[in-house]
C-alpha cells in the first residue's frame, strides 16, 4: 500500500511535468511563430503564468468548484445514516486521518466521485440514484473505491491534471482561432519581418501542428492514466472491504441503468466511478476515460483466492491477458481472506426505489417528515407557511417540527 502511494505520487508528478513541458513548448512555439525567438520566451512566461494561476486556484478551491458544478449538497448524518456509517467504516479500514465530507447529488443516475486535496481535505459525493439502488455491501464497495482514490492521492491528481488539460486546450484553441482570424485580415504577423520570413514560416507551421497535436497528446496521457487509476482503485476497494462481489454487483447495477447524468460534464467525467455518459455504445478507444465496466466486473468476479492486491493483479492478468499494472513492491502483501456477504439482501421494487430516492432528495432539501398514527405519512416542504398541520385523513393536528432535518450547507 505505502509503496503504491509513493509510486502513484511519482507518476502524478511525472505526468504533471510532462504536461507542463507540452504547455511550455506550446507557449514557446506560438510566441516564436508570431514574433520570433524573443517572443518565444515571452510565450513560455505567459503559458506558465496562466498555468500557475490555474494550478493555485484548483489546488485551493478545485474541490469546491467541482462539487458546486456537479450540484452536490453537503449533508448531515440524519439524511442518510447508513451512508455516513459506511464512509466511517471505510475511513477506519483505510486509516484516513479525517472523515471525508459527504455530499449527495440530486440525480437519478447512479454514480459517485471523490475530490479534494489530500486525505485531510477530501470529499465524497454520491447521487440519490446510487443510494436508492444499492444494498449495503454494494454501497460499501463504491465508497471503498472512492476512499481508495483518496488514499492513492488520485483526487489531487485528477483535479490538477484536469486543469492543466483545460489550459492546454484553451491556449491551442486561442492560437488556432487567432491564426484563422489573422489570416482573414491580411496576414499581419507573418510579413512583418521579411529577413527570416522562411524560418518564421517553418516555425509557424510547427506551432500549428503542435497546437493541434498537444491537446490530443495531453488527452491521451490524462485518460490513459485515469483508466489505470480506476483499476487500482478497484483493487484497493477489494482490499479494504475484503468482498469483491459487493463492488462487482454495484458496478453491474450502475452499468444496467442507461440514464445520462445531467449534472456531469466533460471535465468532471473522469472523476466518476463509472462513465456518466451512456448515449453511444462507448467503444474502448484511447479517448475513453473509464475501462469497460464489464471487464472490471469480470476481474472482480474472477477473484476467488483472496482480497489482496496480488489477487486482483492475478485476476486482472487472466481476464485481460495483459501485463499487470500494480507496482511490484505493493504486491508483497500478506494474504487477505475474502469475507462473507452481509445480511442485507433486500429486494427493492422499481417504484419503491423511486420513492426512496424522492424521500432522500426531500431530506436533502429540508423537508420535514411526519408520521400520523392513522398510518399516513406527511412530507412537508420547508416553505410550508404554518407551524401546525391537520392530518387530512383522521383530522389529528400535528406540530411541524421544522429544522429537525437540516443540511449543513
Amino acid at each position: 500500500m505505502w509503496q503504491q502511494i509513493r509510486i502513484n505520487k511519482r507518476n502524478s508528478l511525472l505526468l504533471l511535468m510532462g504536461m507542463g513541458t507540452v504547455l511550455a513548448s506550446l507557449g514557446f512555439l506560438i510566441g516564436a511563430a508570431i514574433g520570433g525567438v524573443e517572443a518565444g520566451w515571452i510565450g513560455i512566461l505567459v503559458a506558465s503564468g496562466i498555468w500557475l494561476i490555474m494550478m493555485l486556484t484548483s489546488y485551493f478551491g478545485g474541490d469546491q468548484i467541482l462539487l458546486a458544478s456537479s450540484r452536490a449538497v453537503a449533508v448531515t448524518p440524519d439524511v442518510h445514516p447508513q451512508l455516513f456509517n459506511i464512509v466511517e467504516e471505510m475511513k477506519i479500514a483505510a486509516g484516513l486521518p479525517k472523515l471525508p465530507k459527504i455530499y449527495i447529488i440530486n440525480d437519478p443516475a447512479p454514480n459517485a466521485f471523490a475530490t479534494g486535496r489530500n486525505p485531510e481535505n477530501a470529499s465524497v459525493a454520491v447521487t440519490a440514484g446510487l443510494l436508492a439502488r444499492l444494498n449495503r455491501d454494494e454501497l460499501q464497495g463504491v465508497i471503498a473505491h472512492e476512499v481508495s482514490h483518496i488514499v492513492h492521492r488520485d483526487i489531487l491528481f485528477v483535479t490538477l491534471a484536469g486543469v492543466m488539460l483545460g489550459t492546454i486546450v484553451l491556449i491551442s484553441q486561442l492560437f488556432l482561432r487567432g491564426m484563422f482570424y489573422s489570416s482573414l485580415s491580411g496576414r499581419r504577423y507573418s510579413s512583418r519581418n521579411s529577413r527570416d520570413g522562411g524560418a518564421q514560416a517553418i516555425l509557424m507551421l510547427v506551432a500549428i501542428v503542435l497546437a493541434i497535436l498537444a491537446p490530443i497528446f495531453a488527452y491521451l496521457l490524462y485518460f490513459a492514466l485515469s483508466r489505470r487509476r480506476e483499476y487500482l482503485a478497484d483493487a484497493g476497494a477489494v482490499r479494504l472491504t475484503r468482498y469483491p462481489e459487493g463492488l462487482a454487483s454495484a458496478l453491474e447495477k450502475i452499468a444496467g441503468t442507461n440514464i445520462n447524468m445531467e449534472s456531469a460534464n466533460k471535465v468532471t467525467a473522469p472523476m466518476y466511478i463509472a462513465n456518466p455518459f451512456r448515449g453511444k455504445k462507448a467503444a474502448v478507444n484511447l479517448y475513453s476515460t473509464h475501462p469497460p465496466i464489464e471487464e472490471r466486473i469480470r476481474i472482480l468476479r474472477n477473484m476467488s483466492h483472496g482480497a489482496a492486491l496480488a489477487d486482483y493483479e492475478q485476476s486482472y492478468e487472466s481476464v485481460t491477458r495483459k501485463k499487470g499494472m500494480i507496482p511490484g513492491s505493493a504486491l508483497n502483501d500478506e494474504s487477505v481472506e475474502i469475507r462473507a456477504a452481509s445480511a442485507d439482501k433486500r429486494p427493492v421494487s422499481e417504484s419503491r426505489q423511486k420513492r426512496e430516492m424522492g424521500d432522500l432528495m426531500r431530506k436533502v432539501n429540508g423537508f420535514s417528515f411526519l408520521a400520523c398514527p392513522c398510518g399516513i405519512k406527511m412530507k412537508i416542504p420547508p416553505n410550508f407557511p404554518s407551524g401546525q398541520i391537520q392530518c387530512p385523513r383522521c383530522s389529528r393536528v400535528h406540530t411541524v417540527d421544522k429544522g429537525k432535518i437540516k443540511t449543513s450547507a
Binding site: I86, A93, G95, E334
Partner: protein, 189 residues
C-alpha cells in the same frame, strides 16, 4: 593541512551523517509506533460504542421477542463480562463471545417480522451492523499497521535503532484465535 586534520574532518562528517541517520530512523519508528497505538485506540472506541448500544437494543427488542429470554441473558452477560475485563486476552475472549451472541440474536430477529418493521429497531440494527463492521475494519487496519511496524523493527538498519531504544514487537489482534487459545497471537520471526 595535515593528515590529522583531514582525518578529524572526516570523523566529524561521519558522526554528523550517522547521528542524522539515527535521528531519522528513530523518528520514523516513533511515528509507526504511534500509528499502531492510534489503530489500537480505534478498536477500543468501537468496542465501547458496542457496549453502549446493547441496552438500547435489548430494550427495544424485548417487547416483541417474548420467547427469547435466554438470548437476551447471553448478550447482557457477555457485555458485562467484556466491560469488566482486566487483561487484553480476557477482553478479547469476552468480546468474541459478545460478537457470537449478537450474531445469533440477529438470526433470531428474522423470525419476528413485526420487530423488523419497527423503524426505531431498524435504525438500531443498522448502527449495530455498522459498529460490528467498524470493529472488524479497525482490527484489520491495526493488524496492517502492526505488520508494517514489526517488519520495520526487524529489518536492517532500523533493527539496530529499535534495539537501542527498546522498540518491541506488537501482537496481532485476532479475536477468534484469542478465544480459542486464551492468548493473543504472537508472530515469530
Amino acid at each position: 593541512m595535515g593528515p590529522m586534520l583531514i582525518l578529524l574532518m572526516f570523523l566529524v562528517i561521519l558522526t554528523i551523517v550517522l547521528v542524522a541517520a539515527v535521528i531519522g530512523i528513530y523518528n520514523a519508528l516513533v511515528r509507526l509506533r504511534n500509528q499502531v497505538d492510534n489503530a489500537w485506540s480505534q478498536i477500543d472506541v468501537q468496542l465501547k460504542r458496542r457496549h453502549d448500544l446493547i441496552p438500547n437494543l435489548v430494550e427495544t427488542a424485548k417487547g416483541y421477542m417474548t420467547h427469547e429470554r435466554e438470548t437476551f441473558e447471553t448478550i447482557t452477560e457477555a457485555r458485562s463480562r467484556a466491560m469488566g475485563a482486566h487483561s487484553v486476552s480476557e477482553a478479547a475472549k469476552a468480546e468474541s463471545a459478545l460478537t457470537g451472541a449478537l450474531s445469533k440474536f440477529m438470526l433470531v430477529v428474522e423470525n419476528y417480522p413485526e420487530l423488523k418493521a419497527n423503524q426505531n429497531f431498524l435504525a438500531l440494527q443498522e448502527t449495530l451492523t455498522s459498529t460490528e463492521n467498524k470493529i472488524a475494519f479497525a482490527r484489520q487496519a491495526y493488524n496492517d499497521q502492526v505488520l508494517f511496524y514489526n517488519n520495520k523493527i526487524q529489518m536492517f538498519p532500523s533493527n539496530i535503532i529499535a534495539g537501542m531504544f527498546s522498540f518491541t514487537k506488537r501482537d496481532f489482534f485476532e479475536i477468534e484465535d484469542a478465544a480459542e487459545r486464551n492468548v493473543p497471537k504472537v508472530s515469530f520471526s
